[in-house]
Amino acid sequence: MLVGYFTERPYQDPKSGLFGATGRDIQDLSLSNGDYDAMLGADLYNRYLDEKVYCEEVGFDAIMFNEHHSTPFCMGGVMNVEASIVAKTTSKVKIVLNGNILPIWDDPLWLAETLATIDMISRGRLVTGWVRGTGRESVSHNSQPPFNWERFQEAHDLVVAAWTRPGPFRWEGEHYDYRYVNPWMRPYQQDPHPMMMIPGVVSRNTVAWAARHKYPYVMLSTRLEPTKLSFDYYRDVAREEGYEAGPEHIGYLWKVHVDETEELAYETGRKFLQGPGNIFLEGSRGVASPVLQNLPGLTDRNNLLPTGQVGFVAASRGRSTSDADYSKPRAAAARAKAVKGAPKAKAAPASPAQPPVAAMAASYDEQLANYTIITGTPKSVLPKIRHVLEMLRPGSVFFWDGDGAMTHDDTMRSLRLFGSDVLPAVKEMGDELGLTSPFDRNPMKPKLLKGGKRTPAATKKAVAKR
């Protein structure tokens, strides 16, 4: 099993009042960076990088970075810079990027070069994930939402081609044109390219796409039961593709904080919900903008995973929590209005009536009860972690800690205890449960089903087509 550490690197400025439980809510894209304190930013970037290096010391297999833009809940606006630094300041851990936001890159060849450089400097430790980004990312880098999914796929195909196909060659796709693809660098990992992991929360398209490419799929902090169902969907698509998905194809990220006493763990764990936390996740006091989450053509509302049906998740993404609102056939009715003599046009109220997002989120205690947050001493967290592993059977797990309002000391206490008393036991559980990681068994060369034939990786097919 692969065991990693993750934090969103929140911008923790007590003066800003951005601490949800005690200060003002964060409304997505509503804050001015005029309040940004770069001296504090310098401290925080260095703190988070130091913590990442410490993760390697205590025995984590992987450190994970993510990227968001124009928001205080994640300082990783340029995740590849952080990854470049740890490529040199660490020596063993996998550097997991979950992930680069492909559609917002107007020059993905530059991204291919950047990542190949990181892979070489780290001597093959890059695990590169791809995401589509939220409405916030589309707006802040002004990438057309209707082409988000097309650009995601084409940018991916281009990056893989740049890594695997000897140049020079031309690339003339739907969204990207290059007259000379021949980067003077190749990734260190060449079988066939750096390991990939695809993170996600609600999109069925993304799961199906990952399964078709045989890339591991990582669910991000979703509730257990719908997560299990979503993994089942991955396995279904895998079977359609003629292979059996194993634990190496499945990853799960969730919040786990370990501390010296039960009381300290409980109180410190509460800080997950008190900082400028990710507005999409339960317990944060952030406010997602329904308008940003419903940019035209960004996501198909009717193509959601079971995780997207959870009331909070739906509401935080600006979707109605009543399926009826979006599923009834409306084309005929709308068309019928466009006839001569029709009375004046009519419009809906400002937004569909639904409870406030925050009201739909589970409380801290509810999240502890449903295992989306686990806190305790090493002794008490282990059985809970085992429950999650048995239920979801992921080959990669990422413990999300040191977030929200947690201080450097809070984080370091937890990391130390992870190293001494949790990680060895978790790895034993992984062995016992047969949770193979993508580094134990290559997910791109899976066990084929009877009658299934080994086809070239989908990426290679895509490359050959160009």
């Binding site: 707006v139 002004n142 082409f147 068309r335 001569k340 419009a347 809906a348």
Partner: protein, 240 residues
């Protein structure tokens, strides 16, 4: 495509929010003209031209529509975004267009102010800002809970985002072509337009060699909703 009336042809291009049916403006115009109200491709649940990337693509398709319908010497009326398309059409083939009317049309980067961004705003708020005051909005849209109109708008703005996401609602090349358009042009702006700044209207008037600007006092962006009779009279007088 809706059509009524008889007389010289008059084509109305709708706002980015869609045609939303036959309304009093069209009824008035039909008293003197053969009024044709098409759904632009990708709007009002018509087939999406997936290849289209630019408002100019829509303009080409609308020119082709004029030809297909055997129309010439047309009075071309563009409302809001439809006016942007109409201006693009005039730069391409002014022979088909006898008279041009642009009502609150974007298409040029405003010398002063910004075009209201429908991508970062709720539909009702966007529509509300199209009116000079809240009461008029309520009169047309506020009293009924109609998710069909909202759903239609969601459909329509996907097309708008496909061709107009950036630059938003203007074309940097258009001002360079407008001086070559000699079609007699009527520009109509609501004095209180909060969606498309009136500075754009003045810019059209400056760049087009044969244009005049009529400012309707106390009207907002949606002059066609607020002052249909007055707008119809101005158009009829211009089209005569």
């Amino acid at each position: 495509m809706l059509e009524a009336g008889s007389g010289p042809p008059l084509l109305v291009l709708h706002h980015s929010t869609g045609a939303l049916g036959w309304r009093p403006l069209h009824e008035k115009l039909a008293e003197s003209h053969r009024v044709i109200l098409p759904d632009m491709p990708g709007y009002s649940r018509s087939t999406l031209p997936e290849w289209a990337r630019d408002p100019r693509d829509l303009a080409i398709l609308m020119i082709q529509l004029l030809r297909k319908q055997g129309l010439s010497n047309v009075t071309l009326v563009g409302l809001g975004f439809g006016g942007f398309i109409a201006a693009e059409m005039a730069t391409m083939n002014s022979d088909l267009i006898g008279r041009l009317v642009l009502v609150g049309a974007p298409g040029i980067k405003p010398p002063e102010g910004d075009i209201l961004d429908q991508m970062l705003i709720d539909h009702a708020d966007y529509m509300r800002q199209g009116f000079r005051d809240e009461k008029t909005f309520e009169k047309f849209f506020g009293d009924l809970d109609d998710s069909d109109v909202r759903s239609l708008w969601e459909f329509n703005r996907v097309m708008t985002a496909r061709v107009c996401w950036k630059p938003y609602m203007f074309n940097r090349r258009l001002p360079h072509l407008l001086p070559g358009v000699d079609v007699p042009t009527l520009l109509v702006w609501g004095e209180k337009d909060r969606v498309v700044p009136i500075s754009i209207g003045r810019e059209y008037a400056r760049l087009l060699p044969n244009a005049k600007l009529e400012v309707i006092k106390a009207a907002g962006h949606l002059v066609d909703y607020e002052e249909p009779d007055r707008l119809a009279r101005l158009i009829q007088s211009h089209a005569r």
